[in-house]
Symmetry: C2
Subunit: 362 residues, 2 copies
């Protein structure tokens, strides 16, 4: 009768692990640099209403979101924190920033002009592009802005790294050099360059503030190296039905998987409408009773099927759970099986799961 | 200041098109068969709170959802309709069905036993598996149930097609034959086999009720053939910034795209956290001012970049919109570019978009 009974899957979020991850990163950069937290996209899919207060309770004082509405929602959760909105002000949104005490990141000349001449004039950050070519002022635009007295007094100068998860990429040093050059134009303004992965490139990348996001939630900040972060997410799917196979048969849409021998197939009430990617069809896996069980057939909208022939029979019965993301198959491994990155696995986590939060008390 | 001003993208859902699609399918199967509507997964991502009342207003009296909580939410929206829950009752959820007048689809022997002996005993549907091997009673289980007088009087006997979108698949005739055999066991019970695609396999597949879902929302029901359904969804992304390129540069994460000549890049405030798949990196496209603009670089969490060099300059400015899904690039085409199916594109549609509904009045 409870929400948990009714749900096809259970998503457990370990808020203590989030806080421990944040404290570890804070320890790497402090006391010289402040450790902020990036909680855009509903705290990477994990629920900003629970994640942000837990981080604030751990001592985090500065948050980054992408969109204005995310900032408005966050303001209610952390009344005293500083909130930066990465995508900046869109036309007509000036007053929303002032009303909710949000600090826009000004990324383009038009945003700077709208902010300074549109009757706004509150605190703002400046984003200078150093090679990502996605958002940010060009260096000559920053130079002309810096040369205009009284044009703008940003409270933060920031940029964003394109290849930080790859410590060997030549992009990193190039972006660092360009950021150092940009910083000389506004030497008194606090500076921020590093995302999660950038923190691991070394102290030279820390400046006055770092902005980790994914690593807080257990995604590995360093490609191809051991993950120093604690896992935050456990996703379990509920078994709806078991089928004993005693003759060759195909499974699921398109009949893409053929079971040849004797065995057992479990159908689980999680599908791509829950953000469990369809690209895991015939490639993913689950774990139950300590045994890896391959995902067979296509992921459908509300259901997936596993070959549970090797699992202990007492662990597989209707109503029992199969682990889809967790200790035995962490988020980065699932992403690898799906042909994407852990970030997309997290931000896709759906809304039909029963969400269970553990820890997080101040 | 409005929600639309603040949003990075606008999702327009044409409820009149949904109703017209339903009426077209109803015309194909009526008056012999009833045309129900499958609205699981929040009406395939489009918002069950708006879609279900619009369909009820058009005359739809029977709805299918996947999960119990979807049924509970739907009951409030369509008080008089019949609601089937495809995944059936999970242990401990019997009373939820009775309280909200939901009809479970019983898929497994355990579900039948729990329903008949667990103090429930309300109306139920039976799902017999005919070759999908995902959910449903085996044929011998159905036979033994049918042979037990008074065991259960289902109000619907259903099965599900595995390959219906492919009219040439031999699976279809095989599943039809098995369903006909199963039906002979319960000849007085109304029967349902066809999803959207199954309707197009011909009247022999219609039985007493059809259960279209995806086709209502504009997804083509027939692979590789012209789409007879009206498009329902338009997705537009807002331009945050334009960048004039006058020397070679790379764009975005991983520096995977290199711009070589002169041109313009537009950054748009939609990303994979909005359900715009990361697999569209360097493969997707948008349309603006009647011109196709290729997606360049990687899709990031909150942003995408387009090469807008060929677009009319007056159509590309900060705050203007680029079409991501719509008339020029319908949902099935986007799915094809992303390596998936239209169903997953729809169910992934995110929650940061401003959602604009048109039509749907009774």
């Amino acid at each position: 009768m409870t929400e948990r009974d009714r749900a096809g899957g259970v998503l457990t979020v370990d808020l203590d692990a989030v806080r421990e991850n944040w404290r570890m990163l804070e320890g790497m950069v402090g006391p010289t640099a402040e450790c902020a937290a990036t909680v855009k996209a509903d705290a990477y899919g994990l629920g900003i209403d629970r994640v942000a207060p837990a981080l604030a309770g751990a001592g985090c004082r500065t948050f980054f979101v992408a969109a204005i509405d995310e900032g408005i929602a966050l303001r209610r959760l952390v009344p005293d924190a500083r909130i930066f909105v990465l995508n900046g002000p869109f036309p007509g949104t000036c007053r929303d920033f002032l009303e909710h005490r949000l600090v826009p990141v000004l990324n383009a000349r038009e945003q700077v002009e709208a902010w300074t001449t549109g009757g706004c004039g509150g605190e703002a950050a400046l984003h200078v592009d150093t090679g990502m070519n996605r958002l940010g002022l060009a260096e000559d635009e920053l130079a002309s802005l810096a040369a205009t007295p009284g044009a703008l007094s940003p409270i933060l100068l920031m940029s964003h790294l394109a290849c930080a998860e790859d410590g060997q990429s030549v992009m990193n040093a190039g972006q660092l050099a360009r950021f150092l050059t940009a910083r000389r134009l506004l030497p008194a303004v606090p500076a921020s360059l590093a995302n999660s992965s950038g923190i691991f490139l070394g102290p030279g990348y820390h400046f006055d503030m770092v902005r980790p996001g994914a690593a807080l939630f257990g995604v590995s900040p360093r490609a191809g190296q051991p993950n120093p972060m604690r896992q935050v997410v456990r996703l379990q799917g509920k078994i709806v039905q078991l089928r004993d196979v005693d003759r060759p048969m195909t499974v699921g849409y398109g009949a893409t998987h053929r079971v040849t021998g004797r065995g057992r197939v479990a159908t689980v009430a999680v599908g791509y409408a829950d953000g469990f990617p369809r690209s895991l069809s015939n490639r993913g896996c689950g774990h139950v009773g300590g045994v890896r069980v391959p995902l067979v057939g296509r992921v459908s909208m509300d259901l997936i099927t596993f070959d549970v022939s090797e699992a202990p029979p007492e662990a597989v019965r209707p109503g029992a759970m199969i682990d889809l993301i967790g200790r035995e198959n962490p988020v980065d491994a699932v992403a690898d099986q799906a042909g994407t990155i852990g970030y997309e696995i997290l931000t896709s986590l759906g809304h039909r799961y029963y969400r269970h939060y553990v820890g997080g008390a101040a």
